[in-house]
């Protein structure tokens, strides 16, 4: 009887866990809580990309990809619990989609030797691979976003922001505070004044901030928001009749869910992006054939092609390409987290490769190295059309201001290294 029970238990454990040779990419998602609307879309895009690879190609290099989900509810403590509970299952890489969780996991992944990929979020100075050898944040980080916003505004103002007033309305959290330092430096360089307006999360009530904006009449408003803060801010901006074309959100404030509740009032609102949106890519024909039609789309595919879905898909694409590169470098398809880190550092996703993957002109080329874990950091601006309910790209990819950003990144990375007694790696 005891033997039968042991055999059954072993069989159950084997069925529940990934097969030994599978590539394990945990999905630390949030499908519940205040940020579920965004978390759902991102997690679906992430899952669907790997499902396509499994269904169409049999995985990567002949190895199936397992994507076990763990619910974080965008809660830092739960995120850390998810990390601890999944890392023992052969996890190759983490993408927690939360700056708060990222900050907590940086020392953990460094100690455990597991790469963490934080595209468009997390700690900006993790771009410095010498100090953060296990963290990657390409294709862009928050400081890139701040700089690209200012570059866009410079373009709109014949190259000068002298005397202009810019207000930053931000989520009062690690995420929302990230661009402040950069914007302050850019303000000094370009002569604009910056007003900082924190909003306490989740951000449903913002009347004080928008009354101040109405009173101060800034030329532009930038937003670092997430979840309900975005919807409330866009509605309040419409309420005070702030010109929407002068209101620009970071990429996490640029989803369909952010603008739809404000209806026609959101027309003309802009946001940054580092990836294309919509289903007008050959990739989606493959997705339809192998994933959607056979009924294998994550959650039934309610948000396929949306801005946040596309970003989740893009994150999965970069991870998959890093795995491919790692397999190539290691000469084996059964790679370890350390080998995946090497794969990330040798990553070179060209436009040709993106076209092969069915996503031409979707994102910028990504070339990483031992020293540069963040890529070029390019971004562009998209604008919402409330009538057609679509985003359209209104600028080309712009490169951030390295003259301002590099010293800031170096200073922050060195400070982190000093605080944590880290000897920066030597990158040749």
């Amino acid at each position: 009887m005891k033997l039968r029970f042991a055999a059954l238990a072993t069989a159950a454990v084997m069925a529940a866990g990934p097969a030994m040779a599978d590539l394990v990419v945990p999905n630390l998602s949030y499908r519940t809580g205040p940020y579920a609307a965004n978390g759902n879309q991102y997690a679906d895009g992430f899952n669907d990309y790997f499902t396509l690879l499994n269904e169409r190609d049999g995985g990567i290099g002949g190895q199936k990809i397992q994507v076990p989900e763990c619910e974080t509810a965008y809660n830092t403590e739960k995120g850390v619990e998810c990390y601890e509970s999944t890392k023992g299952n052969g996890a190759l890489v983490y993408n927690p989609l939360s700056t708060g969780i990222t900050y907590q996991l940086i020392p953990k992944v460094t100690a455990d030797g597991i790469p963490m990929y934080t595209p468009g979020y997390g700690r900006t100075s993790a771009k410095d691979g010498a100090v953060f050898p296990w963290v990657f944040n390409a294709p862009a980080n928050y400081w890139d976003g701040a700089s690209v916003s200012v570059k866009y505004l410079l373009d709109q103002n014949n190259g000068s922001l002298e005397g202009k007033k810019i207000a930053l309305i931000y989520h009062n959290s690690a995420f929302g505070k990230e661009p402040i330092r950069t914007l302050q430096e850019l303000g000094k360089k370009h002569g604009f004044t910056l007003t900082e307006l924190p909003v306490e999360p989740p951000g449903q009530e913002q009347k004080s901030q928008w009354l101040q904006i109405r009173r101060d009449k800034p030329d532009y408003v930038l937003m670092w928001g997430w979840g309900v803060m975005n919807q409330a801010a866009i509605q309040e901006a419409a309420n005070i009749r702030f010109p929407m074309e002068n209101f620009i959100g970071v990429w996490w404030s640029g989803g369909e869910v952010d603008v739809l509740p404000a209806g026609a009032g959101a027309n003309g609102y802009k946001s940054l992006t580092f990836n294309g949106v919509g289903q007008d890519y050959p990739y989606y024909e493959q997705l339809k054939q192998y994933v959607i039609d056979p009924g294998k789309a994550s959650q039934g595919g309610p948000s396929i092609g949306s801005a946040v879905y596309s970003r989740g898909m893009y994150a999965a694409l970069v991870i998959a390409e890093a795995i491919r590169k790692a397999q190539e470098l290691a000469g084996t398809s059964e790679i370890t987290p350390a080998q995946l880190r090497d794969g990330f550092e040798a990553l070179n996703i060209t436009e040709e490769r993106m076209a092969e993957l069915g996503l031409p002109n979707f994102g910028q080329p990504i070339v990483l190295s031992c020293a540069n874990h963040g890529g070029e950091g390019q971004g562009r601006v998209q604008q919402w059309n409330a009538e057609t309910k679509t985003w359209s790209l209104v600028s080309e990819f712009a490169t951030p201001d390295a003259e301002v950003l590099e010293p800031l990144i170096q200073a922050d990375a060195q400070a982190f290294a000093a605080e944590n007694s880290i000897t920066p790696a030597t990158c040749n």
């Binding site: 009173r215 739809l260 209806g263 039934g300």
Partner: protein, 327 residues
């Protein structure tokens, strides 16, 4: 002078925001008055009501995700749109059914229990409703449109500009919220003071067992009160949902109602309104005068500090009943 006008604008908007907080607080007061229970699930009830309203209005198939996952079908919509008034009436009906279910499945088994036991039951109810709402209607952000106007009131702006030289911002939705809240409070006060059912409600609040002994049907009173609280939750859900979409965060507005209740008193309907107004104005003025000196984003915590300050001097709140018990 300019400064004074700005402050006046902030005070007016603080009052309007306070009304929105009070709408949520009212639901708590009703249930507390009737059963002595602090209903932790009131915020989630507002979310659930608003989700149900959007679902009915847009002809969404409830439990569509679950049905699709279990059967492999692809159902999502019935293909019809229900007019706003009818959808509100149907949602109110759903809230009555929910009240009956709560009475039968939860409260009936807890008659005579300590208030803390009933409070814990509402805690569980909150988590259950959170999950039920998501499973029934999905976790995406839903646009709620029942025809309420939004955006700056041109009339108020023009009037204040003519009177003071500075046009005030007043949101039309807030004006509607103030009108609806006033009507709701008047109706609730009249109900609890002047009707047989209202007096029964107050008797039940004082002592379950004693109320039962004089022939008051506890079952009826609880269903009635939870139904009314469900309706108040629906009104709050409509107002907040219209403002920023119907989504999980709507349930968190309950946290804004707590300091309102501490200040106004847990048993007073007018107290909820006055408490809401004081919190609304207080937090806005504090943010304006002190916020810039200490980094801003003070509104969430300041409301609690203000409420705690009041508690020191009036533990029962401004309008709450002073409870004297024999030891």
């Amino acid at each position: 002078m300019e400064q004074l006008l700005y402050v006046s604008e902030i005070v007016v908007n603080g009052l309007m925001t306070g009304v929105m907080y009070a709408l949520v607080a009212l639901g708590f007061v009703l249930i507390y008055k009737a059963s002595g229970v602090f209903n932790y699930a009131q915020g989630v009830m507002a979310l659930f009501a608003a989700m149900t309203l959007v679902g009915i209005q847009q002809g969404q198939v409830p439990f569509a995700h679950l049905i699709n996952a279990l059967t492999g079908m692809h159902v999502s919509n019935f293909g019809w749109n229900v007019p706003a008034v009818l959808a509100i009436a149907l949602t109110a009906g759903v809230m009555v059914l929910l009240a009956i279910a709560i009475q039968k499945l939860v409260l009936q088994h807890l008659v005579g229990q300590e208030p803390i036991i009933l409070f814990m039951a509402t805690l569980g109810l909150a988590y259950f409703l959170e999950g039920l709402g998501d499973v029934m209607w999905g976790a995406d952000v839903k646009t709620l449109d029942v025809g309420l106007p939004q955006g700056i009131s041109d009339a108020a702006e023009a009037l204040t500009a003519r009177l003071t030289g500075y046009g005030f911002f007043i949101d039309r939705l807030d004006i509607w919220a103030a009108i609806i809240a006033t009507a709701l409070v008047a109706a609730l006060v009249a109900f609890s003071q002047y009707t047989k059912q209202g007096r029964a409600m107050r008797a039940v609040a004082d002592d379950h067992q004693a109320a039962l002994s004089v022939g008051i049907s506890l079952k009826f009173v609880w269903i009635m009160v939870w139904s009314i609280a469900g309706f108040v939750a629906l009104v709050a859900g409509i107002m907040w949902g219209t403002k920023s979409g119907v989504q999980f965060s709507l349930s968190l507005i309950a946290l804004k109602a707590l300091p309102v209740l501490m200040l106004g008193g847990f048993t007073s309907i007018p107290g909820a309104i006055v408490g809401g107004l004081i919190i609304g104005v207080g937090e806005k003025l504090f943010e304006y005068f002190v916020g810039p000196m200490i980094g801003g984003a003070t509104e969430t915590w300041f409301a609690y500090v203000l409420a705690l300050g009041f508690l020191v001097f009036r533990p029962q709140g401004l309008f709450g009943e002073r409870i004297i018990e024999r030891v």
